[in-house]
Amino acid sequence: MSSEEALRILILVLQLAFVGLLYLLLLLFGRSLLRDLRSAERTQEAARQGIGRLTVLESPEDEPPVGRAIALGPINSIGRNVNSTIFVEDDFASATHAMLTFRGRSWFIEDQGSTNGTYVNGHRIDRPVALSYGDELTIGKVRMRLER
């Protein structure tokens, strides 16, 4: 075998290795995608049981505790009354402060005549307001974020 032939074969082998490696990567990516898809299905199923949750961002009296994610039903009352769906221990909150409801495809918040008002993204509301996931609610000094 001449050295020129050997070089040609070497080049061919390396070229095959290059494309082969590219396809090995594709295979690995495909496997990771599939594996993640299966685990994502499980997470989704767990997530679908709720229509949303409130994550507590700020809470001076630590009730509800900061960082907690409160699972929401379709109708939630928020206030200092211990029978509220979401009990808020805060001097600036009223007994029945606001109602958070899921109607159709959207969340709505409505103030229940509270003394200090209900705020959405820092703006005081005077009528029922539709919320997006990611909006921030302020009840008294408690700050919470609506999440999916």
Binding site: L26, L28, T43, T55
Partner: protein, 443 residues
């Protein structure tokens, strides 16, 4: 919190450690025509950069998606090998009289882009800067656009370069990211307020004005890009990104319909009025009408695809010179996919497209798992921008649609494009990091 080692990411990066040096060695062997791997510096620096980005993410306890970096690094790695294989004089810089080749310049851009990606992924843990200042971002984008319209430099008939001192860049790449951020912020804010507020006229549901107005505004901007910058690819890309985000935010087919009607009407009027649009369409319909003039690029690209065939000419062995020049103009930017298709064949070209498909799939998954509307729409917009850009340029190369000059993300030579693509990856990483933190599940 438990430490995340990002094991999947590392495992997927390992083949790249072999792939890129192998490609560079192969190019050297073919060029020298002897069994000597030659200098591998470029490949080794690339590998160090990518692994460095991985280490930085691990060190900061980043819990974002683990497939994005390997996918981008694989696509970018093949691109770097391809740029190294092309004649180095095609592009490049010579700062302080130093002669720096095209691949080396691109490598420097990789260093900057990967750094930007890591910084964004790590420090944008709160999306407030993007979300609350969306109108500021919109003004920044509009200003950039206006500056380009007035002061832009023309290259090949398209006015899309801005020069600041010795550095030139393409503002369209920055505007693309800003557009996605603004539209995501706008739609996330308005979405719930306007749910269901539709008027019915005949069989069509007419969307409320706050949705229609931005649509018309974006359409006007896009037409401005077509007329003033003559940058058809960017115009198509912007409009496509916007329509997709609007559809995802509202789930209404009527927007897609209205958008398509606007698109068809805009295309028709442009074809009638502007010579530069007509040339593109005529070349698409029949490039062989003027094979040495306006149709030259397309005709040569078609020959290249044909030479490549199923398995390609082999890395380093295709792309014959015609009278001392590569026959396809802009092969290092707009037509780099053609170079890949010629040397790696359909097999290699398919692999590249499959990698992009995986990237898009991953981006949309991040959007679904995001916990708020803004992050979700941001992920959709960024993913669409990468995916759609790939589709537009690849289809343009292959004469599936009229050719529009736009870069092949991660692969084309050019700093602005590379930086914008990696900024998009960084933002996607930060979105997925926030969802993982909120979910609190074990890594």
């Amino acid at each position: 919190m438990a430490r995340t080692w990002r094991g999947t990411e590392l495992r997927l990066l390992l083949p790249i450690v072999v792939l890129v040096p192998l490609g560079v060695a192969l190019v050297n062997i073919v060029a020298a025509n002897k069994a000597d791997p030659g200098p591998l510096g470029i490949a080794l620096v690339y590998v160090v950069l990518v692994i460095g980005a991985h280490v930085a993410l691990v060190a900061r306890g980043h819990r974002g998606d683990q497939l994005l970096l390997p996918l981008a690094a694989t696509i970018g790695g093949v691109g770097l090998v391809m740029l190294y294989r092309l004649p180095q004089g095609l592009a490049g810089m010579n700062p302080f009289g130093l002669q720096v080749g095209m691949a080396q310049t691109q490598l420097a851009w990789f260093a900057l882009s990967l750094t930007a990606m890591v910084v964004i992924a790590v420090f944008f843990r709160d999306d407030g800067i993007l979300r609350h200042y969306k109108y500021t971002w919109a003004v920044v984008g509009a200003a950039l656009l206006a500056i380009t319209f007035v002061f832009g430099e023309e290259h090949n008939g398209a006015r899309l370069w801005l020069a600041i001192g010795p550095v030139t860049f393409q503002p369209a790449e920055a505007i693309k990211i800003v557009l996605v951020v603004f539209v995501a912020g706008y739609l996330a804010e308005k979405r719930a307020l306007l749910a269901g507020a539709y008027r019915r006229i005949g069989f069509l549901k007419i969307p409320p004005l706050p949705y229609l107005l931005p649509m018309l505004a974006i359409f006007a901007i896009v037409m401005g890009i077509v007329v003033i910058s003559r940058d058809l690819g960017t115009a198509l890309l912007f409009f496509g990104i916007f329509l997709t985000m609007l559809f995802v935010a509202t789930g209404r087919r009527s927007y897609v319909l209205i958008g398509l009607v606007l698109f068809v009407a805009g295309s028709f009027v442009s074809y009638q009025l502007f010579g530069h649009v007509r040339v593109r369409v005529d070349n698409w319909l029949n490039p062989f009408a003027d094979p040495t003039g306006t149709g030259y690029q397309t005709v040569q690209a078609l020959y290249a695809f044909g030479r490549g065939g199923l398995f390609g000419e082999g890395l380093g062995q295709g792309l014959p010179l015609i009278s001392g020049h590569l026959p396809i103009p802009a092969i290092e930017t707009d037509f780099i996919f053609t170079a890949i298709a010629e040397e790696l064949g359909l097999v290699g070209a398919f692999a590249m497209l499959a990698l992009f498909a995986a990237l898009v799939f991953r981006g949309l998954r991040i959007a679904i798992l995001a916990h708020d509307d803004f992050s979700s729409l941001l992920a959709v917009g960024l993913t669409t921008s990468l995916g759609l850009q790939t589709l537009i340029i690849v289809a343009g190369n292959a004469k599936l649609i009229p050719l529009t000059g736009i870069t092949f993300p991660f692969v084309s030579y050019g700093g602005s494009s590379l930086l914008a693509s990696f900024v998009a990856i960084g933002l996607l990483l930060s979105v997925s990091h926030r969802s993982a933190e909120a979910l609190g599940d074990p890594p």
